[in-house]
């Protein structure tokens, strides 16, 4: 805004002299605006609206039910289960991916022979679709013929249905997700590390500081903005990452691995309860909005670091 004003004050904006800038501006924006409104703003508003109505059927048309869907949600044990699963999934994958990403970045940023190759290896899972990743990992977890069973079999353990056991299924999915995501987060740390001044490390060496001490007291604090940024991004991702469930578990056993977005899909397209699916979507939108707000505040703070 400030910038725009200064330009028109100077009279340097060639378009403003026609004072057609409003018309041109909106004309250029219109095609994109129509699609954005149709597939982002309108559906978001319609979702909220729908959540106050019942699901219509042929014999019973949809009617206003106030907060009844939200009351049903509060009483739905599956909803609380999937929300808990989302929290477990986030807690199991995010800190591990971030720690590994930082380690990877430090390694490929250092004097490692063949480091381009190693970096390539770390990053490769990022370009694979989640469906393909699930296909690859399914075979590790399959009872009897799977690689995991073969390895534990060497130690005399009996065959185990890793994905069919509520106690192990989330751990299995989390390990796979960490594999998929760590390389992606690595590139942010790598960029941050490369922007750090090399004189810092030289100074530390002169002072006789150990590498661990230098990391703990200098590198890690300086990387804090990156860590916060990656953390928020990873949390947002963890709500959208559900493709693997279609292949590996379908949310089972007994919803032990079900996640909110997958549950929305089930309610809408398997149980055909669109009103309740809208109610669940409102919860997801609220969570994402909260995270967006956090991200926004982080960006504001990052300005102070510059």
């Amino acid at each position: 805004m400030r910038e725009g004003l200064s330009h028109s004050e100077k009279g340097s904006d060639p378009f403003s002299i026609f004072s057609m800038k409003h018309v041109y501006g909106w004309l250029l924006l219109t095609p994109a605006a129509i699609l954005l409104i149709a597939f982002t703003h309108y559906p978001a508003a319609a979702t909220l609206f729908e959540s106050f109505f019942s699901t219509g059927t042929v014999v019973r048309p949809s009617r206003f039910v106030g907060l009844a869907n939200y009351a049903a949600l509060a009483d739905d044990p599956v909803f609380w289960k999937v929300l808990g699963n989302n929290a477990v999934f986030a807690l199991a994958t995010i800190p591990t991916s971030i720690a590994l990403a930082l380690l990877m970045a430090i390694w490929v940023n250092g004097k490692l022979p063949a480091r381009a190759l190693v970096r390539l290896g770390y990053f490769t899972p990022t370009v694979l679709p989640m469906i393909a990743v699930a296909n690859l990992w399914l075979f590790f977890y399959t009872p009897q013929i799977g690689l995991l069973d073969k390895v534990t079999g060497l130690f005399g353990s009996p065959s185990h249905n890793w994905l069919g056991d509520p106690h192990t299924v989330m751990a299995c999915l989390s390990v796979m997700t960490v594999w998929k995501e760590a390389g992606f987060f690595m590139i942010f740390y790598l960029a941050a590390l490369q922007s750090l001044s090399p004189e810092l490390e030289d100074a530390a060496r002169v002072e006789g500081a150990s590498r661990w001490y230098f990391f703990r007291r200098v590198t890690f604090p300086l990387l804090m903005p990156t860590t916060l940024f990656v953390m928020v991004n990873a949390t947002i991702n963890s709500f959208k990452l559900v493709d693997h469930l279609f292949i590996l578990t379908k949310g089972g056993p007994d919803n032990a691995s079900n996640l909110l977005l997958y549950y929305i899909y089930q309610v809408a397209f398997s149980f055909f309860d669109t009103a309740y699916a809208s109610t669940l979507t409102v919860v997801l939108l609220a969570l994402l909005a909260g995270l967006a707000l956090m991200q926004f505040m982080l960006v504001e703070r990052r300005v102070h670091y510059r």
Partner: protein, 265 residues
Amino acid sequence: MNAAEKGAAWLLGALWVAPLVYAAWAAFHPAALATHFDPLAPVTLDNFRKAWTYAPFPRHFLNTVILVTMVLSAQLVLCTLAGFAFARFDFAGREIAFGLVLVQLMVMPEVLIVENYRTMARLGLVDTILGIGLPYMASAFGIFLLRQTFKTIPRELEEAARVEGCSWLGVLWRVYVPLARPTYLAYALVSVSYHWNNFLWPLVITNSVNTRPLTVGLAIFGAPESGVDWAVISAGTLMAVAPLLAAFLLFQRQFMQSFMQAGIK
């Protein structure tokens, strides 16, 4: 960095490519030998041949290529126009409009599957490739990226072009678009990767072979209940990811930079 640390770095790298290497092993060997690591085992392309015929892979490939091309072309046009408007036209309501565009960064179309499905049904676009692509064509990320790039282009260049008699559309086409080429490339890589790999929305909106992209075809093919053996699934999975993986191996630096830009926004 001491030797132990180097070893650990390499070991982690080996561990990271192991699932892919393992899938490749299974795909190139007879099914019976999929779990026997005998270096002398006979190599075969049988699994690829089977995968290619068991599932309508050629059709899925075609659908994905059409989808990715269509989405990217539309995105380039729409985002260029909108990005230019935000960067260079001081129109009324610009800041509010920009804020509303950024909402899409958080609320991607796949979060709103229920309502978007309903909209597509009303438009008669269920089970069409256009239906898969339409919600993504106005991309907030693209608009944002191009706006940032256009803002860095000195106005003097634009004024020089206008003195020579360029219309504002000519200025956009002759000055802004050529100077933003690296941004276009970065955006194209992210967009193609995203839509090559996207799954949930295409799954919801398609229900026939003629429209399903690779990811959806792969999910049906690879589901445990399909009864297809592991070696063939590996072959199918590798075929589906091969084009993108090959592009990545060729342009890795560009890919990593683009993905990073997409993350930072």
